[in-house]
């Protein structure tokens, strides 16, 4: 039997949600920027530093083994969470950005040459644009951009036309951070594979909202951050198919990523350690493992149902306010309500909402090409998590009414 989704009880697990901001109860609608952490994640980190703190993979003492067990245990949890084949395919990074840069530096420099094409979309975060621009500048490859339509959907016909034998990598977001569009990831992967091109999916905004399955998607690389998934900042994940990761050169040289070092010859370590030079964020990995346990405890079937209901409720609420325009109206969306107002600039909206304790993001969301596509300087973005409620949306609507009042 499916357990009821008791949001009030879930909110009790997140101590920060009891905060008051500017004299009002916090209404946290900036989950796309970073999510809040349940007590179990905070406890896991405190517990690690209180009882276990040691370096991993190099001590013979008991605590070092316990730290290693915790760190590697987190890796296994993440492998199961995204249904990857092997723990060796899970590389700990700092964040999504580092995962993208790792692939650009390692796979990109090794395999992409002058005249080759790298394909991205018009709705990428800057972190999935700039590393490829840097690579193209270095090696003379071309960056091709799949356009998006007025609703924020990828134009699949144009994508099809861009694919060719010159395509050496497709790097596309799974869910747009500025618009909320859920992209047809499986179809994107299959179409690229038909041309022999590997695919990297940026899952930063997908993993908090929906189950992702590496075996089903069949993508070659998948990157995300722990902190958007209710885990700590400073820890992220790169998933890569074993064959690709084995064939790629290391990213950061140093300790941990070697088997032996002499001045004549250094032998690199096996996966996943080959890509984890230096002491990793052990507490971060353990915290992310605890976050995944928490999310698994709720279950995505219930999370997704709750968030879809909230998104629909929020969409209808914003659409009903005269002078408010939602940016990003794709048929399949996750967690994001981006909007502009006739009366006020997003920055002013953000300040007036903040006075009422409502936290949203305003600006270009590190996706300036999206703003250029819609010919707007910025948007106000409310982004949802499973602990949000219809009351949060009602507070947002009331806050927007106040914006209209100030600017009338």
């Amino acid at each position: 039997m499916t357990k009821m989704f008791d949001v009030d009880r879930i909110r009790d697990d997140f101590p920060i949600l009891k905060q008051r901001v500017n004299g009002n109860p916090l209404v946290y609608l900036d989950n796309g920027a970073t999510s809040q952490k349940p007590q179990s994640v905070i406890d896991a980190i405190v517990d690690y530093y209180t009882t276990t703190n040691s370096n991993v993979h190099r001590g013979v003492h008991t605590m070092s083994q316990q730290a290693t067990d915790g760190y590697e245990g987190a890796r296994s949890k993440i492998r199961q969470f995204i249904n990857a084949g092997k723990d060796e395919e899970i590389i700990f990074t700092r964040n999504t950005t580092e995962g993208l840069n790792l692939v650009a530096h390692s796979y990109g420099r090794q395999n992409i040459r002058s005249g080759d094409d790298i394909i991205v979309s018009n709705m990428e975060h800057h972190s999935n644009i700039v590393p490829w621009q840097m690579l193209c500048e270095e090696n003379g490859a071309n960056l091709k951009v799949v356009p998006i339509d007025d609703s924020g959907e990828l134009v699949m016909d144009e994508y099809q036309k861009m694919l060719s034998s010159r395509t050496k990598l497709v790097s596309i977001t799974h869910v747009s951070n500025a618009l909320g569009t859920i992209l047809p990831a499986k179809q994107i992967v299959d179409m690229a594979h038909a041309h022999g091109a590997p695919v990297l999916l940026d899952g930063a905004q997908a993993v908090p909202h929906m189950p992702v399955d590496m075996k089903e998607l069949d993508c070659d690389f998948y990157v995300f951050s722990g902190h958007k998934l209710f885990g700590p900042t400073g820890i992220g994940i790169l998933y890569g198919k074993e064959d690709y990761l084995n064939s790629m050169p290391p990213f950061l040289g140093g300790g941990e990523m070697i088997k032996s070092v002499t001045f004549e010859k250094t032998i690199y370590n096996d996966l996943p350690y080959k890509f984890e030079g230096g002491t990793p964020d052990i507490a971060g990995a353990i915290g992310l493992g605890a976050a995944i346990d928490y999310v698994n405890g709720l279950g995505f079937s219930r999370i997704t149902a709750h968030e879809e209901e909230l998104l629909q409720y929020g969409t209808e609420a914003l659409e009903s306010i005269a002078g408010v325009h939602i940016v990003g109206t794709a048929a399949h969306k996750a967690g994001i309500l981006s909007f502009v107002m006739d009366a006020a600039h997003p920055h002013d909206i953000g300040t007036i909402l903040d006075e009422q304790g409502i936290a949203i993001r305003t600006g270009h969301h590190c996706a300036q090409p999206v703003m250029q596509r819609f010919q707007i300087p910025a948007t106000a973005r409310a982004s949802l998590a499973f602990y949000n409620t219809k009351e949060d949306i009602d507070a947002l609507v009331k806050g927007i009414d106040r914006v209209i009042e100030v600017f009338s």
Partner: protein, 148 residues
Amino acid sequence: MSGLSDLYQEILLEHNSKPRNFKAVEDANQTSEGYNPLCGDQITLSLKIVGGVIDDVGFQGTGCAISRASASMMTQSIKGQSVEQAEHIFDAFHHMITEPEGEIDLDTLGDLETLSGVNEYPTRIKCAILAWHTMKAALSGDTQVTTE
């Protein structure tokens, strides 16, 4: 919500909805572009300086109410002033916005005092100051400036 009404005073909202000198000065001899990478606010300021006096000034661009009103009021305050006086107004404005405890030079600033409420909003100071840094850059002959 006294903070909010201090920030969005009527005169500021009026300058936002009807900005003064919102134009490109056709025979400008100094122009500069200001950009706030944090929020994407952008302003182009053009000045016609004759014999050390700001004969005409105009601004164009996109931004929030605070950056727009600040730019509008700035153009009013420096038009017809000497370059030295414009720099003096800049210093007084900068002091007012960035030093919450400091004294406000009302003689120099006049209506610009309306914008003093911004100093309670650290995240909005760059909005208010963008046009001013752009003016300072234009007077120094720099064609581009950012608030970073």
